[in-house]
């Protein structure tokens, strides 16, 4: 988590919930299941079982939160997903 460099007056915690972002991968009919699993393994460094579980969540539930963190980190994850042709979006964790 990124501590805020200039916390607002009255804020006692360095990282508030709204500063946490999540990267969501959405289901689409084009991306192959094995490919998505492999991309998750390579990009996030997950073992095969976790990557498969997340891939199935995307496929069966329509979407899955694949990472959370600072704005910068989440942007970089979304960018990586887009580079592989996966449909990914980001939003603040509290929304």
């Amino acid at each position: 988590m990124d501590p805020r460099e200039t916390p607002e007056t009255g804020s006692s915690v360095s990282t508030r919930l709204e500063d946490v972002w999540v990267c969501i991968v959405w289901n689409d009919p084009v991306n192959l299941m094995d490919y998505v699993t492999h991309v998750f393994q390579i990009h996030f460094g997950w073992p095969r079982a976790k990557a498969e579980k997340k891939m199935l969540e995307v496929h069966e539930r329509g979407r899955s939160v694949v990472s959370s963190g600072s704005l910068e980190r989440t942007e970089s994850d979304v960018q990586a997903m887009h580079s592989f042709g996966l449909w990914a979006t980001m939003r603040r964790s509290g929304e």
């Binding site: 009919p29 991306n31 192959l32 094995d34 960018q79 042709g85 449909w87 939003r91």
Partner: protein, 195 residues
Amino acid sequence: MRAFQRRGEEAVAWLDADEREGLATVVAGVRALTEADPSRPEGTEPEDDETLRLFPNAAPMDQTVAQDFRQLTEPNLRALKTSRLDAMLEYLTHDEAEWIVLLDEALSIAAALTDVRLVLATRLGLKTDEDAELLRGELEVADTLLEGGLPEGLDVDRERVWFVAVYQALTWLQHSLVACLMDQTGDDQRGGGDE
């Protein structure tokens, strides 16, 4: 056309001259979409659905974040996608039937195959998993057409059927290429060695 098969540290497929020429045309069209569009102001969304699928909106609920993301990432994403498609075109436009992909480069090629399939799927109106199933039915028509067996006078959108055939061929190629990559992971777990 032969799908990718593992050969040592490479994945090898085989396409005849007509198949390579047909695919090269489609890939070149997609490559054009990955190039910068001077008429579109930086940070704004592409107007056509095909380009938008390659560079989707990263934050549909928050226009400012979406715009910042686009400004920040799109130039790099464009360059990456273009270079991956170029690697595909290099094979497709050379007079060589064997398509040799080093396993180290296989994920890049699989990503380029994805981009081409995303554009074709958008063109074909493929939006749900059910649409993908329906496409399989169209493929049978495509096969008959490609073999020249479709009766004269039958009302078929030949361009669409051709795109369906290309889409399915690319799906098959990508599937086999990813299988080679997964196979490699399996090797690592077993401690290596070819069968």
